[in-house]
Symmetry: D2
Subunit: 315 residues, 4 copies
């Protein structure tokens, strides 16, 4: 319903801005905007390209932004409608790192065990058929082909106060949530901690499994079309998402159970505020209809997406 | 493939046994069997009925079992094919407890906060239309109707050695996994810790959300048809599941991340053993295609189901 | 104060029983008692001896018990005064296991990393000088000698209901807490879940570091003198400890923070019930004077001991 | 041994600098230094004073710094010898917050339970007798007096790269570790992530319990004397501490077990690098002689201090 009215508004008085990023940002923070837009602007852009994606390998690119959104205040929420996320390059890269990953000891989850070997898998993308193929050098099945499901690992505003987090971090400002739900057709609502919001995006994944368990998705370069807008007078605490089937909240924290609880409790608050549910009724109903996905278990905070099916919302 | 060949075998030389449970079991443990069956037996039975399910409320019923499976040894795995799980009663009950639940302090996750209020929601089941309806007394939307998705919260063998766990516990022996995936069309493979396996089942849910976050599903009485069989010479460490789309592992532990890792690592071992994947190739591929669901965050161990889509398995 | 009055009572009308254990118990559970005693009995006994402690290596011995304590009911608490715990053998053994340990992936905290190597350290005990010495084969310092601090890893009652846990488990029934605080001069108060309490003890450590991080203490055979008594009409939820300086609570759970919270919150309840503290005053004061130790991070539940210095108790 | 040689060096060629702070810093980050010193400088200073400490209450003051240490590079470690930490004000304040604290649901560990009440305890300090006294309004014991044990909650360098964390965060750069071990007589060794180190300090506690479980220590203003020095060519990964009895490592992370493991594994690496221990010998020995304390369970990362008694080090 919210989504529907937003889309209606979007048809009117909408700006379109084309933007080619040049500066790669190392942290989510308040800094000099690379672009200023009005509310209800369609931004036609792309993620940064980096050698990380190429057969030659190399550094991972930073984020695009910050985009200053005029009129966005800390009493509002930022609307990020994902209109298009499509790979624009013929390769994607995925890595196993000895010191980063979800099912192995790493630099944050230290163990005395020897570290795992590092590996790199280069995937060939067919951006027409929307498939990706890689070799599995040591397996009986020598090659695997998957259908692509492009998404943005990172959409963010500048964090509260003077804090600055590298692009690896997700949090209440969004950031590196690595949620496959951030894809075409989804609208992300972000809290605003500074006037102007300071919007960032990046980290395209041609596909990613739930949990991003091995540490990366199919990392590649993306064409991106996003509509940025502001909903006035409705501040929120954590990123909310909406598609045609679900309202969702992305909670990010360690340990995993805290991310899980954050996401679900914020979802209950949304049900109370916007849909007239009693808190305990909402809790009880979630017990029967909640869905959820573990978005990542590798980043400095883990991310869980809690979902409420829209068919159970009041008309 | 495994499933297909099992179903083929099932067509031949299959026993059918009708069993009406009378003894309700308080723990998963080795004890006097209530029934002995041959491998490849279709068991037509039902869960225990208890006053917990009625408008009057009352005690929760225990499990059905143990069923002794002839010829099942600790070097084998037990096959539990879920042929039918259907509610056979007109009510289901769901509760909020002050000392049990996933989004609130409880007896295991202690906090100094005041406990939450307890509540009971009686749901009316239409077992023809397969819907359930309850009132939401304090919400704008006064009533909600959901489609039913019947499942068994508990399928188990007797735990290793002399251990005995109440029906609330899930573990490597199965138990109270509260996984919505344990439904019609799914086959569960269980480890065997004692000759004869000592199979138990119970805890029917007419529906349950992922995580069972409020502490219970739509608890009710079920008609159950299960095919029990043995795969010789293939011992496993944790419950495995299979349906037409996925091979899956259910890992149970606290904290949640340990359940998550257990499930995914056992899934990688399955991919290595049965499908010829190299360990690191399997890990890397899971990074792109893994799915997972948090089955419960309320029981003494939490349960996560890790899933690998069968369409990415070698032919 | 409680301790003082108990000791006074002990001087009167006290039974003394000598008991040499023969049956080794595999689980903490309700079973046929090996001995029945009256309240206020001094039990002169020893732990089981097993080949685990010898140069030849071998199986780890089970616990001593259960001792049935006459008149102990579920409305009481069991008093376990540790009068003597002294090694009676010239060796102690400590092991590194590939699948068990606190700073490495193990069977409960699964990781994809290769397992650690196993090792065994045989320690020579001087039970007069109360020192232990072992070789460090690959270190610059080829040998190390430590002062002994004998303790009992396990004191327990039978768990609630029909549950049975192997000797590795600690919980609200005590069990394998592996707390160095369970030593001469300490009194342990245990909950009672069955009339008669069904007391167990075992797992002598000639010394153990906090956290028992590598998986074992200096495991050896012990002479044990324990006074068993009952405090009527004061049921408790978790093991409490007392020595001349502290009142303490041992909380056992995973994850570690839950054990930490359980122990501290139960300590606050003790301060409220017996010493007249307001809940929030007690919480605030703990913020300034609490001490704590992590007893084990290797067992199926971790154990934390929360401590309140007796000098800050009301006179 | 390290400490002894450092102290010997300190007697020679030592600078002394008096510094009265005026700028209060909101985050640990690279910014314009407030002071530049040579290695081996005794800094005579104080923490910021803020209304938080007064009967009137008010904002909490920020940190002092950054101090630029000439010649300190990312290939070195920073030496922070705590010579004096003494309260210089007659009050200390301690608070219970509804949204911050270790034994209750808070903004990071969300629960559906109602929040706890907030409270403020004003403590009167006797800085000669070194005692603090407060009232316990609702308790039988109406007043409590404790001996003071002054410490610095925060010593830090600027975090790696462009990151900036509020004063609440501890991490590998030190920060808000809230470790009672950071007191007179202790030397803290910090990693260096930027040339010049950018040293910060603040957050004096007249006393604090282990875990800082209620959220604050006895927060007050401190006279501080610190010797800053550089050990060349010895980079480290996490803060190390040393006093006359122990070498220690402070690990900060969530969940608590990860902080615990980080601290102990870094301690093993220290034993390998500086004292010639084999990794597995060090692990096994820690199992018998390790001590540890939980410094805080309230900050964005929890902190654990792992300790190795110096009497077990090689001569």
């Amino acid at each position: 319903m919210l989504l529907a009215s937003l889309l209606a508004t979007a048809a009117l008085m909408q700006d379109t801005v084309r933007f080619t990023p040049t500066i790669q940002q190392p942290t989510f923070a308040v800094r000099e905007p690379v672009l200023t837009v009005k509310p209800n602007t369609v931004l036609i852009s792309r993620t940064h390209f980096g050698p990380y994606y190429t057969p030659e390998d190399g550094a991972f690119p930073g984020e695009v932004g910050p985009v200053f959104v005029e009129g966005a205040t800390t009493n509002d929420m930022l609307v990020v409608e994902i209109i298009k996320v499509r790979p624009n390059y013929k390769y994607a890269a995925a890595k196993l790192y000895p010191d980063f990953g979800g099912l192995a000891a790493d630099a944050r989850v230290r163990m005395l065990n020897d570290p795992n070997p590092g590996r790199r898998y280069l995937w060939q993308l067919d951006t027409v058929a929307m498939t990706g193929t890689t070799t599995l050098p040591n397996s009986r099945m020598k090659q695997v082909t998957v259908d692509l499901r492009p998404m943005l690992g990172r959409v963010a505003v500048a964090p509260r106060g003077g804090e600055a987090f590298t692009g690896l971090w997700p949090g209440n400002y969004g950031g590196n949530m690595d949620a496959p739900e951030v894809k075409e057709g989804t609208t992300v609502y972000l809290p605003i901690f500074h006037d102007g919001a300071y919007f960032y995006f990046g980290d395209g994944h041609a596909r990613q499994g739930q949990g991003e368990v091995a540490g990366t998705g199919l990392e590649t370069s993306m064409d991106v079309v996003i509509r940025l807008d502001v909903i006035k007078g409705k501040p929120i605490d954590w990123p909310r998402l909406e598609d045609k089937d679900y309202i969702m909240v992305a909670g990010s924290a360690r340990p995993l159970i805290d991310a899980f609880r954050l996401a679900h409790i914020e979802l209950i608050e949304w049900l109370e505020q916007d849909y007239g549910f009693d808190k305990w009724d909402a809790y009880a109903l979630l017990g029967q209809v909640a869905e959820s996905s573990v978005a990542n278990i590798v980043d400095p905070n883990y991310t869980v997406v809690a979902k409420f099916p829209k068919r159970f919302l009041p008309r």
